[in-house]
């Protein structure tokens, strides 16, 4: 079995791991590193539950090989809060009851954080299209969209 040695940075920490060549970054995060916040909903890039940032780009970690992370920077949901302080998006999602079962929530939060960093003043339509790759089956998206719009407004005001 070919194992690849990878040195990378995850949530700011220098990390090394060995992975099989066919293992995805999601497999590595969940099974090797115990970072189970990213979820596997489909394994084919259709649901967004495994969303992470890779060198500042929003990606599905199920569509990245673990071996590809060499010298890259990965950010996951586990790195979103600053210690005991939640990110404003995390707080607003709770306030707006923008989650029911919560399985899509880590991916949605990572994706919306990426959106607001790129576009601090998105329209409702822009939010909806940005999040089209993050399936949520519980909420009908309504409260998610409201939470994102409200966070954006707050962060602009801050």
């Amino acid at each position: 079995m070919h194992q690849v040695h990878v040195s990378t940075k995850i949530n700011g920490d220098e990390i090394e791991y060995l992975c099989e060549t066919d293992e995805t970054l999601l497999d590595v995060l969940r099974d090797k590193l115990g970072l189970t916040g990213a979820k596997e909903g489909c394994g084919s890039g259709d649901c967004g539950a495994c969303s992470v940032m890779l060198d500042g780009r929003l990606v599905c970690s199920c569509l990245v090989l673990g071996a590809e992370a060499q010298d890259r920077e990965v950010e996951t949901i586990e790195g979103m809060a600053d210690g005991e302080n939640l990110h404003p998006l995390q707080s607003k999602f709770l306030e707006h009851a923008a989650l029911q079962c919560g399985i899509c929530t880590p991916g949605v939060l990572i994706a919306t954080k990426a959106l607001l960093e790129k576009n601090p003043d998105p329209t409702e339509t822009e939010v909806r299209y940005w999040l089209a790759g993050n399936l949520c089956r519980c909420t009908g998206y309504d409260k998610i969209i409201r939470a994102v719009m409200d966070t954006a407004a707050d962060m602009r005001g801050a």
Binding site: R30, L35, C42, C101, G102, R137, G140, Y141
Partner: protein, 749 residues
């Protein structure tokens, strides 16, 4: 104390009716919450399941010797590793094929190995000798006399005389009253139509996952995402042939269920692998497996006939509903038949349902199982009939609406119900009178669901600092822990923040039925309130002891024990925290419990208003505005009630427009993934407005009805009515996908 009179309409609440943050919230926004696939155990193996590629095939033999010989394989199981005498033979057969494979995706064997790749290779080494048989996947085809028959033991139940030949029709149901023929003869206008709906999937984002850890003596633990861990325990014990007491099941956080996690699929397989390997085994379904081998809905065909007088009175109504429920009996044809005309008071009504088996995965519950398809066809005809007699569709519905004291089409008399209230709200809602744009149409529909009660056991412990630990046994699929905390806090007269709820494992509480039937806020809520009252009784006893007076002379008000009156003596009220602090010296721990098979569930009704826009050149449908109006009884946590309304509507939109199980000529599922099984994405939907109506359910101390399921009943028809209005032609088949809509438009030209 337990006989406190219920007058919910006069109740004033302190915390019930507010929307505080959920107790599991922080875990869920930080990635800490542990779902089905997130658990590990030392020495854990990977379990994988081999599935039939054939829709219908006799299994001549299975040779697992090569797989067993592969290095790293620790166990291989087939049907022979389960208890052949298990009580539920259909469940046994569904989790592992026996003499035949009955659908594409039917489990045939399973392996446990040291890694994913070894497990994958081992599956490829299992040799199954299949004799492919003719198959049938369509409901109408399956009902034909010459259809391939799945089971030799199915002779249609519910018909006289009993058939002598086996068939795919497992059961015929009939409900109703009056004389339908006479009723139709009194009608001025009759509309009769046929309808079809495709099978859909609940589409929970979390695939089924289970970690089993069974010791060689058959005792052990399961960790899994399920709507009912007690059900998992009892079923697995039966299928493995072990005592219930030997299994402890813990429900993980659950990433959506909607009814699809009310039965077992991989759990007994993981347990059998673990028992055989003597090591923990984790089985996680792929998305492909979820679609092929969990429990989607029935597909249906139906015929509806309704007659009315010119003044809008319905004189007779008849429905015939055929439910294809996959490879085993049990499609919700009975529930569909019962729900079909439940919204209306009818002098003459007959509903017939057929439960039909086909070569598809066995259907499972999906939010108000059976009801949405029935409502789709009935409410389409209702809307058309209203149009034909020139009456506003809401007025027409109000005129015939279910009301307190009237006999329902399925038998019982309605108690206090809120259908008319939702219709009146709809009529007055700005959405109903808003102008429409070009190519847009508006539709309305009502919907009904029974709501369940059921077996529930709850425990509530008073902690030393005056906080409360609440243990319930119904998995939280949509925020129910918050609702339980609210109800406990309300009853105890303390703050919401002082109560924390957990979902206890199967060894910690008495049996709890599955989280289904919109029963949790009602039944677990009722049990929670009763457990709180039980603990209040004990708190009062402790106060009496501290004051040295009779317990009868103590009352509980606003979170304090107080002397009942002047005769009881003069004492400063004792807070819950003060009594808790003295518990050790007044008799030890203070806790309340309640066990019940809860009755008194309140039926609920909803009315939805939908605007759709149809592209006349492509047949593409866009829902542009959506309003849900539903009777919640009492909304304990209004934000989550709204969430249930919105979620049901969104799933209904998917069902109506794009979602469908597509089978090929070969009987194989062609769209077993989120790419081509098209659930709504964020950009597909508008905001979904909600209006909570509160007509209290007298069967619950606070007036609670269930809210989770009724919300998916009206959308199919409401959207069909809006699309039909926009397209200028009646759509009778779901999903209303672009090719189907365009064809209808073109044929209507």
């Amino acid at each position: 104390m337990l006989d406190k009179p219920n007058k919910p309409e006069k109740q004033k609440f302190n915390v019930v009716g507010t929307s505080p943050l959920r107790p599991d919230g922080v875990d869920k926004v930080t990635g800490r919450a542990r779902f089905g696939a997130d658990m590990v155990a030392p020495g854990m193996l990977v379990g994988k399941i081999l599935r039939s590629p054939h829709a219908h095939a006799r299994i001549r033999s299975i040779d697992v010797s090569k797989a067993e010989a592969l290095s790293g394989v620790k166990a291989v199981v087939t049907k022979d590793d389960f208890n052949a005498d298990a009580e539920d033979q259909d469940v046994l057969y569904n989790i592992m094929a026996r003499e035949k494979a009955l659908y594409d995706g039917h489990a045939v064997a399973a392996v446990a190995a040291i890694s994913q790749s070894v497990a994958r290779r081992a599956l490829a080494l299992i040799e199954v000798d299949y004799e492919v048989l003719p198959h049938v996947t369509d409901v109408d085809e399956a009902m034909k006399p010459d259809a391939p028959v799945l089971h030799d033991h199915i002779f249609t139940e519910g018909v006289e005389p009993k058939p002598t030949k086996p068939s795919n029709i497992a059961q015929r149901y009939e409900f109703g009253h009056g004389d339908v023929e006479e009723g139709f003869s009194e009608a001025d206008v009759i509309v009769e139509r046929n309808f079809k709906t495709a099978a859909t999937h609940q589409g929970y984002i979390e695939p089924h996952a289970c970690l089993a850890n069974i010791a060689n003596d058959g005792s052990g633990e399961l960790w899994c995402c399920t709507q009912g861990h007690y059900m998992v325990r009892n079923t697995c014990a039966s299928l493995l042939g072990i005592d219930v007491s030997r299994l402890r099941v813990t429900a993980s956080e659950i990433g959506g269920g909607f009814g699809g996690k009310t039965t077992v699929f991989i759990e007994p397989v993981a347990a059998a692998l673990s028992r055989k390997a003597g090591r923990p085994v984790k089985v996680v379904m792929s998305r492909n497996e979820v679609f092929r081998a969990s429990g989607p809905t029935s597909s249906t065909s139906s015929r509806i006939k309704i007659g009315a007088k010119k003044d809008g009175t319905i004189t007779a109504a008849e429905s015939e509903l055929n439910y294809q429920g996959g490879a085993f009996a049990g499609a919700p044809a009975d529930l569909g038949a019962m729900c079909s005309f439940a919204c209306y008071v009818l002098k003459n009504v007959r509903t017939i349902g057929y439960d039909v088996v086909t070569n598809r995965p066995k259907q499972a519950a999906y939010r108000a199982p059976g009801a949405p398809m029935a409502a789709f066809s009935v409410e389409s005809v209702v809307e058309e009939l209203a149009g034909k007699i020139g009456m506003d569709p809401i007025e027409f519905r109000i005129k015939n609406a279910a009301r307190e004291g009237e006999k329902s089409s399925y038998g019982p008399k309605f108690r206090q119900v809120g259908l008319v209230e939702t219709l009146e709200e709809a009529k007055a809602h700005p959405h109903y009178s808003a102008p429409l744009g070009p190519n847009q149409g508006r539709g309305v529909s009502c919907g009904f669901w029974f709501n369940f009660g059921g077996q529930t056991s709850t425990s509530l412990s008073i902690n030393i600092d005056g906080t409360v630990a609440l243990a319930v046994g119904t998995p939280d699929i949509g925020g129910s822990r918050a609702s339980m905390c609210l109800m406990a806090a309300e009853e105890l007269g303390i703050g919401y923040e002082q109560v924390r709820a957990i979902i206890a494992d199967t060894s910690s509480l008495g049996y709890n039925d599955v989280t289904d039937g919109s029963r949790v806020t009602f039944a677990s809520g009722k049990a929670t309130i009763m457990a709180a009252r039980d603990s209040i009784g004990k708190l009062c006893e402790r106060a009496a002891k501290m004051w040295d007076i009779s317990p009868d002379a103590v009352v509980w008000e606003e979170g304090h024990a107080k002397p009942a009156g002047a005769n009881a003596g003069e004492f400063e009220p004792l807070s819950l925290a003060e009594i808790a602090a003295s518990a050790e010296s007044t008799g030890g721990p203070i806790a309340g419990h309640h066990e019940v098979n809860a009755s008194g569930a309140g039926t609920s009704f909803a009315t939805h208003i939908v605007d759709s826009e149809v592209d006349p050149e492509t047949g593409r449908v866009q829902v542009t505005r959506y309003t849900v109006i539903q009777d919640a009884g009492k909304a304990v946590h209004p934000a989550y009630v709204e969430g249930q309304f919105q979620g049901g509507a969104a799933q209904g939109i998917g069902w109506a427009i794009n979602e469908e199980y597509i089978y090929g000529e070969d009987g194989r599922l062609q769209n077993a993934g989120f790419l081509d099984y098209r659930i709504p994405v964020a950009s597909d939907l508008p905001m979904i407005d909600t209006k909570i109506v509160e007509v209290p359910n007298l069967g619950h101390p606070y007036g609670v009805r269930g809210v989770g399921e009724t919300s998916i009943v009206p959308p199919l028809a409401a959207i069909a009515n809006s699309v039909s209005a926009a397209a200028g032609v009646r759509l009778t088949e779901l999903p209303m996908s672009p090719p189907r809509v365009l064809k209808a438009i073109d044929e209507n030209k």
